[in-house]
Symmetry: C2
Subunit: 230 residues, 2 copies
């Protein structure tokens, strides 16, 4: 029974972590498996929000397009992370586009079934409230970064965050091409490249392809704080 895998995934997802088994099973029952090939569109900004997803395998990006067609990535979601849940409750449309980065698989939860389930189980709703709140908090940080800090500061903050996530504390490995990273930081590949060189020149980091050594943790922290490279 491959359901075991999805049971585990749901029970460990941010959205539903900490729920009793019966609730997880109820969720499992209303979900559908959806597979996407590499670079496949999942939903478009403006589409009616008929349900939300939890990513199982691969990575999914949430992005906006500028009038000129330039793509700005808002989030990248890995396994266990939920996406597209906003319009399920507000009853409106998706506020951004979603597409797979790799070949990937998600669980889909149809809106009506979810709403019925939540009405019966307040605990699930409370849990979800907490999750949305967290995401809201992350956005607050994102806005702060975009409006108050310059690119080197954002990059430093990002590297430090990665080094916390990965265990090796003085070496991080990018799991995405630098061009995606640039978009994630709200800049362009050229600028990112120059800033990496600049930071290397100041012995803050050492770049070897996608692997980056953090040479001066203290300096990076300072840079992330003040947002400005000397």
């Amino acid at each position: 029974m491959p359901n075991k895998k999805y049971f585990k995934l749901i029970s460990e997802s941010m959205l539903f972590a900490g729920l009793p088994d019966e609730h997880i099973n109820a969720l499992l029952l209303i979900s559908e498996i959806r597979d996407f090939e590499k670079n496949q569109l999942i939903f478009l900004e403006g589409d009616k929000g008929i349900g939300f997803y939890i990513n199982v395998d691969g990575r999914v990006k949430i992005f906006k397009l500028s009038p000129e067609g330039k793509e700005h990535i808002l989030h990248i979601f890995g396994p266990g992370e939920p996406y597209g849940e906003v319009p399920v409750f507000s009853g409106k449309t998706y506020p951004a586009n979603a597409a797979s980065i790799d070949a990937s698989r998600s669980l889909f939860f149809p809106r009506d079934a979810v709403v019925a389930l939540l009405a019966k189980n307040p605990a699930i709703a409370l849990n979800m409230l907490a999750v949305l709140s967290m995401r809201l908090r992350q956005f607050t940080v994102a806005v702060e970064n975009l409006s108050l800090k310059e690119v080197p500061g954002r990059l430093a903050a990002h590297l430090l965050m990665l080094s916390l996530e990965q265990e090796k504390k003085d070496r991080v490995v990018l799991n995405i091409p630098k061009t995606l990273l640039a978009s994630l930081l709200g800049t362009i590949p050229e600028t990112l490249s120059r800033i990496l060189s600049r930071m290397a020149a100041q012995n803050l980091i050492e770049v070897q392809g996608r692997s980056i050594r953090l040479l001066d943790l203290e300096g990076l922290r300072l840079l992330a704080e003040t947002g400005r490279l000397a």
Copy 2:
């Protein structure tokens, strides 16, 4: 009984609109009145989130401070609007600062009482899920604006939004000083001032103090779309 006023306010607030009277009364019972003088701090980023507020009179701003102390306003809330609700569910600290703009009054809802109430009434929780989702969507737009559009585009979008909110469709009146508006748009007063002149020179708008005539709706819309002033 002045409670009537607060009953109405709660029942018309985004957060609790559409709830039956008994629930509104329950909410009224757990709330406390808090008064603030002009420019008074309400809570600080990092403070423990012991509850949330619904604004009654006056205006409240939510803002972040840059390392150099520059203030960037994330939201301005008027009567009936809830704020500070994020940490109530995430159980963490407030993600930004809050302060009154005018002398103002809010209703305060303590965390524990709210959580207990929601656990009993799933309908209230669903409503709040919708509100948090909406706010999340707003942030998505804010991030988009900050990263994809230039200041003139953001300003045009803001003016058009105001003209929708206020009824007069070709004239908007700022209810905040231009210096606050600058912060709200993620820029500084000098830049805002120059851009207003520039837009006036192109017959897009006509500025008289805080009152702004929108002369060329179509042009403004184009500017908000493309994000670039000719």
